[in-house]
């Protein structure tokens, strides 16, 4: 870092202020505590219908597998490790909402309404045995889902130096 100290905040004056309305159209991320979740809600039953129509071609019936992989815990094939899916590997349910909203369906990203994303989130969390079939998903309930994998997550423990980790 070689800039002289005088180049503090706003010193160059390049760029224009980001208007809150503009930021809002881009600011679609969702955090583990639920910050960023929009209004709306969805049920497991609605999610099942949407999933069958828009997702199962790639992820199999009910998310059990397909050309682009399983999304739900399936019975372990003998001798094979269980697939890493939402129910056994994802630490936060908010990520399910965030990811589906930004990236799925793969061939039509950004095409779902918030209610549809809530419904798909409900459906996948239910199929992963994380919520029962009556629990409605919304900005309050998604961050409250307890995810079994969360306890397993540790930050990087490699530090450089001779030790192999």
């Amino acid at each position: 870092d070689t800039l002289p100290e005088r180049f503090g905040p706003g010193a160059f004056g390049f760029g224009r202020p980001a208007e809150p309305a503009q930021v809002a159209t881009l600011d679609i991320d969702v955090r583990p505590d639920g910050t960023g979740l929009p209004a709306g809600s969805g049920t497991v039953a609605t999610g099942a219908v949407i999933f069958a129509a828009k997702c199962s071609a790639c992820h199999g019936a009910g998310g059990t597998g397909g050309p682009n992989g399983a999304l739900v815990i399936t019975d372990a094939t003998p001798g094979k490790r269980p697939a890493k899916v939402i129910g056994n590997y994802w630490p936060y349910a908010t990520t399910v909402f965030d990811y589906i909203r930004r990236a799925m369906p793969f061939n039509e990203p950004g095409s779902l309404t918030n209610d549809e994303v809530y419904a798909l989130t409900a459906f996948l969390l239910h199929r992963n045995k994380l919520i029962d079939e009556k629990t409605v998903m919304n900005a309050k309930t998604v961050p409250a889902v307890r995810m079994p994998a969360q306890a397993s997550y540790v930050p990087d423990d490699r530090t450089g130096g001779p030790e192999i980790r």
């Binding site: 800039l3 760029g15 202020p17 503009q22 583990p32 965030d98 990236a103 990203p109 990087d156 423990d157």
Partner: protein, 386 residues
């Protein structure tokens, strides 16, 4: 000086078409607006649906030709109009700001030669694998852009900001959470690669470039940076780009690329002749400079220090070379790098012993060995170091 109006129209029948019998006796192709690759060179990446691997065995030197830089996308390469492109920085900042491409180019700039490697860059299996097949998801360019620290100062990043979210403008809207200290340290908001605008496959018009860190964090087609006080736990840092390690733990935010080396010659499908052979390859570390590369030509019994091509740069592919006299007997050749932190490139067994057998494919950097057959054929040895 010389009047040079060569009468090309009248004499165009003299120009070379096809392969001339004797190129010294026919006028050559005149100078042009863009150079070309020789028609005799058939360099190509190896594409899959999600990535495309650099042909490491074909490269000389440390720079990767831009059109042969590896690719890894999560929903293809977007087409972004530079005239409408913008980068928004907001969140825990005093001055949320939108920067156009022209704005970014007005700031003080920086250039550096550094590697970029996908943390999922390891495949093994058959003897007929090339360096491209095994670890073709690494490439090196000279990257230019504005230091993220400069932008941080400009927008007034607040003291309690500890993480930021970097978001791409592709169809995957790729997102990664990055510690703010990396932004103050050496992160670049890059708009150029090997002298020219970043190529579309590498993030045109603007990408994040985090020297030494796993490739996925250098978010391409960067459209937004949000400053926050905790990581977001996006899908790409939970479901993916994490590795199970011992006791059922899941290692997350494993940003640094561990030191690695690979021999790129002689390797499959080369066939060598008896006599002097220059064993050469690439070595790099995400933690700093390569200190030393050792080569063994007797299956790991003895190791010799290879020559490193100057300049040895920080977080950069470094060419190593070792001159070896091969007398014709079957043997294994292999290389290992030591980086400036003292880390010695491990065997696959050492990695699996340390992480457990279920660790998966991220951050795997084992030593790689090649079997030299008495007839000079070279085969990958997937079982070496297990």
């Amino acid at each position: 000086a010389m009047a040079a109006t060569v009468m090309q129209t009248a004499l165009a029948n003299g120009l070379q078409v096809g392969l001339p019998d004797d190129p010294t006796k026919q006028m050559g192709t005149p100078p042009g607006k863009l150079g070309s690759r020789s028609r005799f060179e058939t360099l190509a990446k190896a594409p899959s649906d999600i990535s495309s691997r650099s042909p490491l065995q074909d490269f000389k030197g440390m720079i990767t030709p831009s059109d042969l830089h590896f690719e890894r996308h999560h929903n293809g390469v977007p087409t972004i109009d530079p005239a409408t492109y913008s980068l928004t920085i907001h969140g825990l900042v005093d001055r949320p700001t939108v920067f156009t491409l022209a704005d970014l180019k007005r700031f003080p700039s920086v250039s550096r030669i550094a590697f970029l490697e996908c943390s999922g860059n390891f495949r093994t299996g058959k003897e007929t694998m090339t360096p491209q097949d095994i670890c073709g998801l690494t490439s090196q360019s000279e990257w230019s852009g504005v230091r993220l620290s400069t932008l941080f100062r400009e927008v007034g990043v607040r003291e309690k900001a500890s993480w930021f979210l970097a978001e791409g403008g592709d169809a995957a809207l790729m997102t990664r959470s990055i510690p703010v200290r990396k932004g103050w340290d050496d992160a670049i908001v890059a708009y150029a690669q090997n002298g020219e605008a970043i190529r579309p496959e590498q993030g045109y018009p603007v990408r994040l470039f985090l020297p030494g860190w796993e490739g996925n964090t250098s978010v391409k087609w960067l459209r937004r940076i949000e400053l926050g006080d905790a990581p977001w736990h996006t899908r790409e840092e939970t479901s993916k780009y994490t590795e199970t390690i011992k006791d059922g733990r899941i290692r997350q935010f494993s940003f640094d690329i561990d030191a690695r080396s690979i021999i790129t010659f002689p390797t499959y499908p080369a066939q060598i002749e008896r006599g002097w052979v220059e064993v050469r390859g690439l070595a790099w570390s995400g933690r700093g400079k390569v200190s030393r590369v050792e080569v063994s030509t007797d299956a790991g019994k003895h190791w010799q220090v290879a020559e490193l091509q100057a300049p040895v740069l920080d977080k950069a592919h470094t060419v190593f070379r070792h001159l070896w006299r091969w007398e014709g007997s079957e043997t294994l050749i292999t290389s290992r790098v030591v980086d400036e932190t003292g880390y010695v490139q491990p065997t696959l067994k050492q990695l699996l012993d340390a992480r457990g057998p279920d660790t998966g494919g991220y951050h795997m950097n084992p030593v790689t060995a090649w079997l030299i057959k008495p007839d000079g054929r070279v085969l990958y040895q997937p079982d070496y170091g297990r």
